[in-house]
């Protein structure tokens, strides 16, 4: 991992992009990193486009501003490709990961010929199979950890069990499904070429 990586999340209100950014900060924190996890607060409504951010570093982070030139972008909802310029400022040696089942040509056309790596993942199928419901943020969390190589799969999964036990203390029945969603997602990332 580089000394500092910056991540921007695009989602829609209610899909858990903010929660995912905070869980990512948690996981990185637990491996000894310096972290920031923060959403860009606007007039949030269910379904409205929202943005969240992460900085993850090996050294203390002092910058307190939004991220305009991210190393990675996570798109939790592919309908945003029609509404938001998701590759704005995205570094060319970086990567974008999109929750989608759309074909490669469509994705490339919507990403302004982005030169960096493009990945896709079917977070809906994974979530529905593992959790029986559509919560795209859990698979997307696994996908960004895998792509950014912030930590190994083993460390990540071990850490997330602990995080979920804490987060879902009042509904432990969902922990297994969420762990399954993470594992499935890690192995189902497809590179768009």
């Amino acid at each position: 991992m580089k000394d500092l990586i910056e991540i921007r999340w695009h989602g829609r209100g209610g899909q858990g992009a903010k929660t995912a950014s905070l869980l990512l900060a948690d996981a990185a924190f637990n491996t000894g990193k310096y972290i920031q996890g923060f959403p860009e607060y606007g007039p949030e409504r269910m379904g409205a486009p929202i943005t969240a951010y992460n900085r993850i570093g090996n050294k203390p982070i002092t910058v307190h501003s939004n991220i305009y030139e991210p190393d990675f972008v996570v798109v939790v909802d592919d309908t945003l490709l029609e509404a938001v310029n998701v590759t704005a400022g995205l570094k060319e040696d970086g990567a974008i990961i999109i929750n989608t089942t759309k074909d490669d040509e469509y994705l490339k056309s919507k990403l302004n010929n982005y030169k960096g790596s493009i990945y896709k993942i079917d977070a809906r199928s994974i979530s529905e199979e593992a959790l029986g419901k559509y919560f795209p943020n859990t698979p997307m969390l696994a996908s960004i950890v895998a792509i950014s190589q912030i930590m190994s799969k083993e460390d990540f999964l071990k850490d997330m069990v602990a995080s979920f036990k804490h987060k879902f203390a009042k509904k432990p029945e969902v922990i297994e499904g969420n762990m399954k969603a993470l594992e499935m997602a890690w192995d189902q990332i497809i590179k768009v070429v």
Partner: protein, 395 residues
């Protein structure tokens, strides 16, 4: 050993309050400080603290309840933002003039209108002359540390003034970051027990609090408040020294970042100071001698000390995250330049009003400020000292 954690600024403030375990917390929710009383009320419900939590119907009542509790001889705390502080306005002055060391967590937000929930310092600047001590915090860590130090400063017999700890709404209040917490027992020992000399519930000394105070006495009482504010300077440093012994974290009136050999510097408060430090590092790599002076203690204003710290620079930019709308400079700019004038420090100094209503301030923005300073050093020409940063139609 301290506890390595990751918390938002609001969580950090709530945990500080939990460890302080005051007698009374009275608060009314307002964005972006809402989470502080929200988290704190769960500590009350779970029995983690034995505080009396007063869920009041307005901020005016929140401050009134704190005044009542503190007058009675208890330790009272509250949290608010922007319009919540505006609604407290009447009681803010009463708290300080009754010399009640109430501690507030102020999560800075733009005062309406039009309605805006995001960060600027217009709320804090509105009460800068109210007789409250004002500490500013760059990070969640500083918001936490300042709260842990607050009661020792405010309750000191030479001070007895209320104190507010400011942090930037959303920017630090809602951002999860690393933090080092202090163990509960150490905080308890550090904060100590509150032993007021005069209080309403002392049946051996019946007193009246807040009676009529006309021409014969009010002036002397105001002078005493002013003296207390001057005394606070010494106490703030003493408490910081004790705190450093406990944690290793050093606090003064302000932080000097790479100022020692700097030619140009930014003076600012709260989270922007962190962005300014990152900008500084970047410029230093290019051989530009940039520095930052981050004001922590805004009230009392450490005038002589700031003037001295800035005295070797070639040009200075003072950044105000609130516009005084006075046709001249922002509050911090006026205080800094007045301090420089009195100390006969004659250095070109310019003001930027920035970040109003949550307008984001980036490394690129601050690079522009340093570039402007470099130009001023080169040409000796200030042109307009009253500038804006990041507003459309200006730069």
């Amino acid at each position: 050993m301290s506890i390595r954690e990751r918390l938002s600024g609001n969580e950090a403030a709530a945990i500080a309050m939990k460890q302080i375990n005051p007698d009374v917390v009275a608060a009314f929710p307002i964005t972006p400080s809402t989470e502080i009383p929200q988290y704190f009320s769960t500590f009350v419900s779970n029995g983690t603290v034995d505080t009396e939590f007063v869920a009041v119907e307005s901020e005016h009542s929140a401050m009134s309840a704190c005044i009542g509790a503190e007058s009675a001889g208890g330790r009272a705390m509250t949290a608010t933002s922007a319009n919540g502080l505006s609604l407290m306005w009447e009681m803010i002055y009463i708290a300080s003039s009754l010399r009640l060391p109430i501690v507030m967590s102020l999560v800075n937000r733009a005062v309406s209108g039009p309605l805006n929930i995001h960060c600027d310092h217009s709320d804090a600047m509105g009460v800068r002359d109210s007789g409250w001590i004002q500490l500013f915090s760059e990070t969640n860590q500083e918001a936490y540390d300042n709260l842990i130090m607050a009661h020792q400063i405010a309750e000191h017999k030479d001070v007895l003034l209320p104190l507010m700890v400011c942090q930037d709404g959303f920017i630090t209040s809602h951002s999860i970051e690393n933090i080092e917490l202090i163990e509960d027992d150490k905080v308890k020992e550090f904060v100590g027990k509150y032993k007021p000399e005069h209080y309403l519930l002392n049946d051996k000394e019946p007193i009246a609090v807040g009676p009529l105070d006309l021409q014969a006495y009010l002036f002397e009482h105001k002078k005493q408040q002013a003296d207390a504010m001057r005394n606070a300077k010494k106490v703030i440093l003493e408490v910081a020294e004790k705190f450093e012994k406990m944690t290793g974290r050093k606090y003064g009136f302000f932080e000097e970042y790479k100022l020692e050999d700097a030619d140009i510097a930014i003076v600012c408060m709260n989270s922007t100071a962190g962005t300014a430090k990152a900008t500084c590092d970047k410029l230093r790599e290019q051989g530009i001698k940039a520095g930052v002076l981050k004001v922590r203690v805004f009230r009392p204003f450490p005038a002589e000390e700031i003037a001295k710290a800035l005295s070797k620079l070639k040009a200075i930019a003072v950044l105000d995250k609130a516009d005084s709308l006075n046709g001249a400079g922002g509050a911090l700019f006026e205080d800094v330049t007045s301090a420089m004038f009195i100390s006969k420090v004659q250095i070109p100094t310019i003001n930027y009003v920035y970040g109003i209503g949550g307008r984001d301030t980036t490394v690129q923005d601050l690079e522009k400020v340093y570039n402007d300073l470099t130009q001023i050093v080169k040409t000796g020409d200030i042109q307009n000292p009253y500038r804006y940063l990041g507003v459309r139609g200006e730069n």
